[in-house]
Amino acid sequence: MESIVDREDGLNLKATELRLGLPGREESEKETMASFKNNKRASPESAVADGSKGDFDAGDGDRETAPVAKAQVVGWPPIRSYRKNNFQPKKAEGEAGMYVKVSMDGAPYLRKIDLKVYQCYPELLKALENMFKLTIGVYSEREGYKGSEYAPTYEDKDGDWMLVGDVPWEMFMSSCKRLRIMKGSEARGLGCGV
């Protein structure tokens, strides 16, 4: 491992480099990668930064942090370019906003809101409160929306109904398909630390 440092950076600036992350963590990641990759040369176009890859060498146990955007390795994952070109970016409706349906138990019709308008959960919840003339309250991890008769939920990509607020905002944005404001006993069931 020392040889990498010597070759790339004779001054050993690594020791004094400012980095985000716990001290000592960077060393062990580099060790793992070095002994198995054996000084592989990165291809010219690849922007594999050790730091970001480190986040993905799973086992950080740190799944809750929203991962850094993946650095691109040329030709990986190995999918035909034809197939890659055909992927619709998930937010193809991005230009027009990201509208999702909002249903509320007991209401005669559904509404739609543009999630892109909001930067964080409190803003979204406030908007829902205004739209449906109700109080949702404040989120807490332990007790959900305790004190409120309502619980905001959303349907995710797997089809499961999740409580709004558990995951980081970006993750919520990318997985939320529709919203539903649950009312009454059903809501309380969700709110009580299930």
Binding site: A58, R80, D158
Partner: protein, 612 residues
């Protein structure tokens, strides 16, 4: 010995008749090695020729050996070209082949190309030169436009007599010749039966290629233009389908909307294989209801694909009636179908043998597949979100569920977030019948997340259990150990794909020494170098090709190899650092592609490809 001796007393016609039963080119190749007379009989009777590497031989020699060739299959670029690892002007041109066959008066009926460069000029020459051409299949090719397709379509016709016995080319030709004598104005033209374009990059010239099929074209059996990006003339398409009553396979592109699909299905209830275009409409509309009843009449559909770009999930129930009979389902382009709808659909598909799907189906969805699709033989799970950080992926759980639920599984391509050794060991135990096993972790060097160990033991279990394994792709954190296992156990292995794996030359040596049936080896970003490359140079003549990129191989070693083995083409592909006479032998090559050949270095290599 006795039998062969006796066989030589049979007249050649008998030998030829016996050889007729040999469909596979491998069997025919084996037969032609027995003795001179068998070689001679076989070569005059071979009609289907397969060339796995278009640069291993030149067309003139193929035609000379097999003068009665009617069907030619050609493969061009190396497999890693699919993943942008081969520069686009590397080669693989079909034109010289078409020119040679046209010059020699070959009676070409079928042309199948994979990863080749096909120009419009080639297509035009093809259309003009072979009156009996009935089948054109292009897979992952490039270089042509819809104008080239128009040339093919324009030349397609039948004689004024109308429909005759389809597929009986000799009878047709005979009849045409008779007619030509009586009525000199009857022209010899194509009667195209199959035009199959799979995943090609085709430039759209806004022409009306589909309209170029003349009204007299009624012979189509298979038409696949799903990969085309541009608009098609819908009215022309509907008329085409209406008059081609033998159409069995039809795959539309995204520009064909649901209402057109409905009209098409009304005209073609005999379809066996359908690929829809885009699939979005108001489910409460009259059109949708008509689609439902049209689908119900299509009782022969066994294979379904499409759902390109736009999909309205609420319209999916229209296809439920055909799901029950489906043996093949490809939803790998349907990125807008939610996993819950996918699962609802799968519930109806109990006869599936082949399923191609996106990973947004999730582990849970794969569980449903496992419990519903008991006849499943081939599964491909593609990634749906390769750039983002979405949660829509599958893990080892999905694979284990499939292996437990689908006893007939023999072929898998699986893109996943992570994999564990325990899961692979379980899969190996559940499914000893794998012929193709391709695993791709989205992070190429991810270890087993539970144990933090490399995946050597897992893949080792796979090769040990699956004694018939012919194709293997590895990924995840891997050391030399996995290659030791592969060399020891993978006796039937023909193709191996390696990326970011191994520690030293030993890894590659284990494979080269152990896998006696290896035909294709492709390696990228792995620490294999000169020692491994040069240890057994004779091995490469038993293989079709070897690809190594971003490894530790130097120019000097490549030169040494090329010098020792004149019947190999050793190509060094250096785009960033052009190779010339003054290049340092110690420099590492970016990419090396070597293949056995009977005809020496090719003449069409671009300047960044240096054949040593």
């Amino acid at each position: 010995m006795c039998l062969a001796y006796m066989m030589n007393y049979f007249p050649e016609e008998v030998l030829e008749h016996v050889f007729d039963f040999l469909a596979s080119h491998r069997d025919r190749n084996a037969v032609s090695l027995v003795c001179q007379s068998w070689y001679r009989v076989e070569r005059f009777s071979r009609e289907k020729v397969f060339i796995g590497n278009c640069y291993a031989i030149i067309p003139e020699r193929v035609i000379a050996r097999f003068p009665r060739v009617r069907s030619l299959t050609l493969k061009g670029k190396p497999h890693f070209a699919d993943f942008n690892l081969v520069p686009s002007d590397w080669g693989g041109f079909v034109l010289p082949w078409i020119e040679a066959m046209a010059r020699s008066g070959v009676n070409l009926e079928e042309l199948r190309l994979k990863r080749m460069v096909v120009s419009d000029e080639s297509l035009e020459l093809l259309a003009r030169s072979f009156p009996n051409l009935r089948s054109l299949v292009l897979v992952s090719c490039e270089g042509f436009t819809t104008d080239g397709l128009a040339a093919i379509a324009s030349n397609c016709s039948v004689t004024p007599l109308g429909e005759l016995a389809i597929g009986d080319a000799d009878a047709m030709v005979g009849l045409i010749l008779v007619l030509a004598m009586i009525t000199p104005k009857v022209a010899l033209t194509l009667f195209l039966m199959e035009l199959d374009l799979q995943e090609n990059e085709v430039e759209d010239c806004r022409g009306q290629w589909l309209s170029c099929f003349p009204d007299s074209c009624t012979s189509l059996v298979s038409l696949n233009f799903a990969c085309l990006k541009g608009e098609v003339n819908l009215a022309a398409l509907e008329r085409l389908v209406a008059r081609n009553h033998n159409l069995r396979s039809l795959r539309l592109n995204h520009a064909v909307p649901l209402d057109a699909l409905q009209k098409i299905l009304m005209q073609a209830p005999q379809l066996v294989d359908l690929g829809t275009g885009s699939y979005v409409h108001d489910p409460d509309s009259d059109t949708y209801n008509k689609l439902k009843s049209a689908v119900q009449k299509c009782t022969s559909i066994r294979s379904l694909s499409g759902f390109l770009e736009d999909v309205a999930p609420r319209c999916l129930p229209a296809i439920y009636p055909i799901c029950l009979n489906l043996t093949s389902l490809n939803l790998s382009y349907a990125s807008l179908i939610h996993s819950s709808e996918l699962i609802k659909l799968i519930h109806h598909c109990s006869q599936l043998q082949r399923l191609w799907i996106l990973d947004c189906i999730g582990d849970k969805g794969l569980g449903v597949v496992a419990s519903t699709c008991k006849e499943l033989q081939e599964l491909r799970v593609f990634p749906s979100d390769i750039y983002g950080v979405g949660s829509a992926v599958v893990t080892e759980e999905g694979l284990v569920a499939i292996s437990a639920g689908c006893p007939k599984l023999n072929s898998i391509l699986y893109f996943c977030q992570q994999m564990t050794n325990a899961a692979l060991i379980t899969v190996a135990k559940n499914c000893p019948n794998f012929i193709r096993f391709r695993l791709c972790t989205l992070n190429p060097t991810i270890p087993d997340p539970v144990t933090m160990q490399p995946l050597d033991e897992g893949f080792g279990a796979i090769v040990q259990s699956c004694k018939g394994l012919k194709r293997l792709s590895l990924s995840g954190l891997l050391t030399d150990q996995v290659f030791l296992y592969i060399g020891m156990y993978a006796e039937q292995l023909e193709m191996l794909s390696v990326a970011f794996a191994g520690n030293s030359d030993k890894g590659m040596l284990y494979v080269l020494n152990g896998c006696k049936k290896l035909k294709k080896l492709e390696i990228r970003d792995s620490p294999f170098g000169n020692v491994a490359l040069l240890a057994d140079v004779g091995k490469y003549e038993t293989m079709r090709s070897l690809w190594m990129s971003s490894c530790e191989v130097t120019l000097g070693a490549c030169k040494t190899l090329a010098k020792k083995m004149p019947r190999l083409n050793v190509e060094v592909i250096n785009e960033n650092d052009l190779i010339d006479a003054s290049s340092d032998d110690r420099q590492k090559v970016e990419k090396m592609y070597l293949y056995r050949t009977l005809v020496g270095p090719r003449e069409d290599a671009p300047e960044f490809v240096w054949t040593l």
